[in-house]
């Protein structure tokens, strides 16, 4: 039984020894460097562009401006193709632009023989701009008469829905109604490997793109769309990738490198973004402002949640049009017996484009909801954990929006486990009536999330298994390993179903769209769930072929045989080996009259999307004069169904917790509200947490067995990032009596709140 064991990561040895090859470790002779010419202002139009000086520099091979690229807008969001044109992504990008919409926008590109020359030449492209008024906030962008960033205006869309009751009526007759306004910042993914891609042609027609991406098959389609080529003329290769967190669920460099190699006769051309470019000119997490109301009854019921939220998608839509819809609807599983109403507006502004980032809008939406729920609990004098336990989802509840029954839900157990682990009641009592400079508080928050994107998007995954001559198997999938451990989880599933040791299952980690099975890639915490049925079907089919061949070799009926630990056995007496798999494989390949290469392949669509659940508990100290928060203990408890690999699962939780602590306490891209200038687009000035900033991290799982999933599992990759921030905020409130309604809770912000409350 391999599922449920902490088997060693498939790629761990390759990575600790430095043998794992990432995009930049796969050089090509004659590789050219391309470098963008970027706008120094946040909004304007190019009135003159002169490339003469750049072209004159020795070593420069080409310069293209926005006037030289196809005038065809395309969408960059890494979604599957939508058959229904109404669901198509927003096509608002061109390869280069003469209408610059944020500081860093791309007006030209230079190709040279080496990096230094390309950079020097890019600096010599002279550009004059006509400056346009700048809008940075929701208020400014949506104001009457605001300068439009795109032809349709600054509002990308507004989504409204109500479910589970009439919110206005509930608010009217509720025992208590609370209301607040919350704000979350723009943050950056900060994956350690910056965006990088190169492209070349290997014949007269085909373009090969090698790229650090989460979504190779989608990249293929979007490159073809952007360049108006048949899809089959593009091939995308994804090597090891140094983190993505959603920022590589977007098509950023690939259309440009493909365009450049096409223009330059097929020579390899690379773009390797600097860290500073990665900050400003890839994607970020949407900043949001939310106005929320909650109604509670004295009986402890959470009667209604009314949420109005504005999401700033920056200069281009990227995923913006989809994120609020996804996150608002996913949150409906959290309090399914509560009436909810959402109004979510997504708008453009002159800041870097926001896109997908771990948990796709849910951290922002749940931050507001879990702050509101805390206020509602207090308003009716209830303990925050007890209030949540009273109101959260339970198995058998029906989602008020889509009518689906929750087949598994361990959220109450998660909250109970957290309460026990942190010794909630005793520690809360100890926190009462504090008046010193340093005060301690406890906080909690909980979430619901989805597993994949169905029914918004198609869910399709493929797997191919090949029995090798030595009795091991190779697994190919279109799903991508991006650090989360997907390959290893898939190998465990194969091992479980096929009856082979995990070590004998080799996963081909790299994707090549010419040969890898089709799959849309790593996002929405979908892969372990969506790939499971494909892996299972392929493994069962391969096992059938293996046993049929064993029957040919041994003269026994296949039905009496089984495969265990890499050996063919009688199903009744599995201790006795009839035949080793390696002998069987050799026979299948090389016997002159019987057998074949034994392979199996499956491609499966999934039409379910189970909710996963969990919560964060935190115990912290606030030094009021220093305006500093110190976390003493923090952990998440998750219901992600069956845990396929406990050690790797724990790693996902730690990573999400740490990223969330950064969001809650430290990180924010600072952008001038007047002129759109970005102040801290680098790792020195932008405060990504270091070893010194992250406390000991904990986690626990409440395992349920999801009946719709191949191996009982549900989503886990993104969810851990959702609740730490509201839990920390609620704990700061508990410690100090001050309700901080914005993050990051930096000393500067806390100073404002603490002095406002008379604590300083």
């Amino acid at each position: 039984m391999a599922v449920g064991k902490s088997v060693t990561r498939k790629d761990a040895a390759a990575k600790v020894t430095g043998r794992a090859r990432y995009t930049d470790d796969l050089p090509m002779p004659g590789m050219r460097w391309a470098c963008y010419v970027r706008s120094p202002i946040a909004h304007g139009r190019v009135v003159r562009i002169d490339t003469t000086a750049a072209r004159r520099l020795a070593g420069v091979e080409a310069v293209f401006t926005f006037e030289d690229v196809p005038d065809r807008p395309f969408a960059t969001a890494g979604h599957p193709y939508a058959l229904n044109p109404d669901h198509a992504d927003v096509a608002d990008r061109r390869l280069l632009t003469g209408h610059v919409r944020y500081q860093g926008d791309e007006v030209a590109v230079v190709v040279a023989r080496d990096r230094l020359t390309a950079e020097a030449a890019a600096a010599r492209v002279a550009v004059d701009y006509e400056e346009l008024p700048v809008v940075v906030t929701a208020e400014a962008a949506l104001a009457e008469g605001a300068p439009a960033l795109h032809p349709g205006g600054n509002r990308v869309n507004t989504l409204r829905f109500e479910a589970g009751g009439k919110v206005d009526e509930v608010l009217e007759r509720a025992d208590a109604v609370v209301e607040s306004r919350y704000r979350t910042p723009i943050v950056q993914h900060c994956h350690l490997e910056n965006h990088i891609a190169y492209a070349y042609m290997d014949d007269m027609a085909h373009i090969v793109v090698v790229t650090s991406t989460q979504i190779p098959h989608i990249v293929r389609r979007i490159v073809a769309e952007a360049l108006e080529l048949p899809l089959s003329r593009v091939k995308v290769i994804k090597p090891y990738i140094g983190g993505g967190f959603g920022n590589k669920q977007d098509v950023i460099l690939e259309p440009m490198v493909a365009f450049l190699t096409l223009q330059l006769g097929g020579v390899p051309v690379k773009i390797d973004l600097s860290r500073e470019e990665c900050f400003t000119s890839t994607r970020t997490r949407h900043a949001t402002v939310m106005r929320g109301r909650a109604a509670a009854g004295r009986d402890g019921s959470l009667a209604a949640l009314d949420v109005e939220i504005f999401s700033n998608t920056g200069a281009y839509a990227s995923h913006g049009h989809a994120i609020m819809g996804a996150s608002c609807t996913k949150s409906c599983n959290l309090y399914p017996r509560t009436a909810v109403r959402f109004a979510a507006t997504t708008h453009y502004a002159n800041v870097p484009a926001a896109g997908a980032m771990r948990a796709y809008g849910s951290p922002q939406v749940i931050f507001g909801i879990e702050c509101l729920v805390e206020e509602a609990a207090r308003a009716v004098g209830m303990d925050p954990v007890a209030f949540r336990i009273r109101n959260v989802a339970r198995r058998g509840d029906v989602n008020p929006l889509d009518g689906h029954e929750l087949l598994t839900c361990g959220l109450v157990e998660c909250l109970e486990e957290g309460r026990r682990r942190i010794d909630w009641d005793a520690r809360r009592r100890a926190c009462r009536n504090q008046d010193g400079d340093v005060r301690r508080g406890l906080g909690v928050a909980c979430f619901s999330y989805g597993t994949g994107t169905y029914p918004s998007c198609v869910e399709i995954a493929g797997a191919r298994l090949i029995l090798n001559q030595d009795g091991t198997v190779h697994l190919q999938v279109g799903a991508t390993e991006i650090g989360q451990g997907a390959d290893t989880a898939f190998s465990q599933m194969v091992s479980e179903t096929l009856g082979l040791d995990c070590d004998d299952v080799h996963v081909v980690s790299s994707q090549d769209t010419d040969v890898s099975p089709f799959d849309t890639g790593a996002y929405a915490s979908r892969q372990t769930y969506m790939v499971a049925p494909a892996v299972r079907q392929a493994a069962e089919a391969l096992k059938g072929k293996i046993l049929a061949h064993a029957a040919l070799m041994t003269g026994q009926a296949a039905a009496n045989l089984d495969l265990r630990g890499g050996r063919i056995v009688f199903a009744g007496t599995p201790e006795e080996a009839l035949l080793s798999l390696s002998d069987l494989a050799l026979d299948a390949y090389y016997h002159k009259q019987r057998g074949a290469q034994l392979t199996a392949e499956a491609s499966c669509k999934t039409m379910t999307n189970p909710a996963s659940f969990g919560c964060t508990f935190v115990d912290l100290e606030v030094d009021i004069p220093l305006c500093r928060v110190t976390i003493r203990e923090i952990f998440n408890v998750h219901d992600s169904g069956v845990i396929i690999n406990p050690l790797m699962a724990e790693g996902q939780v730690h990573g999400g917790l740490a990223m969330a602590i950064g969001w809650a306490l430290y990180e924010e891209m600072l952008i001038d509200e007047q002129n759109g200038r970005i102040y801290n687009g680098n790792l020195l000035d932008y405060k990504m947490p270091t070893f010194m900033d992250i406390p000991d991290l904990g986690c626990a799982f409440v395992q349920t067995r999801e009946p719709t999933g191949g191996y009982g599992n549900k989503s886990l990759g993104e969810p851990p990032i959702i609740t730490p921030a509201p839990a920390i905020r609620n704990a700061v409130w508990d410690a100090t009596g001050v309700k901080v309604d914005e993050i990051p809770m930096t000393p500067k912000v806390l100073y404002r709140y603490f002095s406002g409350a008379g604590l300083l």
Partner: protein, 164 residues
Amino acid sequence: MRKTVSCTINGRAYTLSVDVRQSLLDMLRELGLTSVKEGCGVGECGACTVLVNGRAIDSCIYLAVWAHGKTIRTAEGEAADGRMSAVQQAYVDAGAVQCGFCTPGLIMTSTAFVERHRGRKVSRQEIRRAHAGNLCRCTGYETIIRAVEKCLGRQAEMPSDDGD
């Protein structure tokens, strides 16, 4: 302008002609030592960490010519004779590897730390401080600390804060 640099890399003597403007990072990568990763190129992230005479440095802001006469170690060299070093093995066992882009640099920082503290139990705070120059976005650092503890053993920590 070019200069000749003689140094020892992963136990082997090299004499190389390098551009005087070149970083040690580029020199090592050109030799095929691609464990040395560039995450920022300006000394912020630690992905390019190598050991120079036993000390962990950011090779992106260390000139190649400064390597003259020095002994350099990278993650490739730590796995001798097909076996991983104790630090590498501890990372594997602790689950301290995810995307792996920070990993070779962190392995070298941990290696220097473990060698310096051999035979001593260390506190989590000491481990944190010594690794603070290496960023990792995937692990939250927890399993990396565990890997280092595995190599050295853990010192009982004072219950109250040490005040940084």
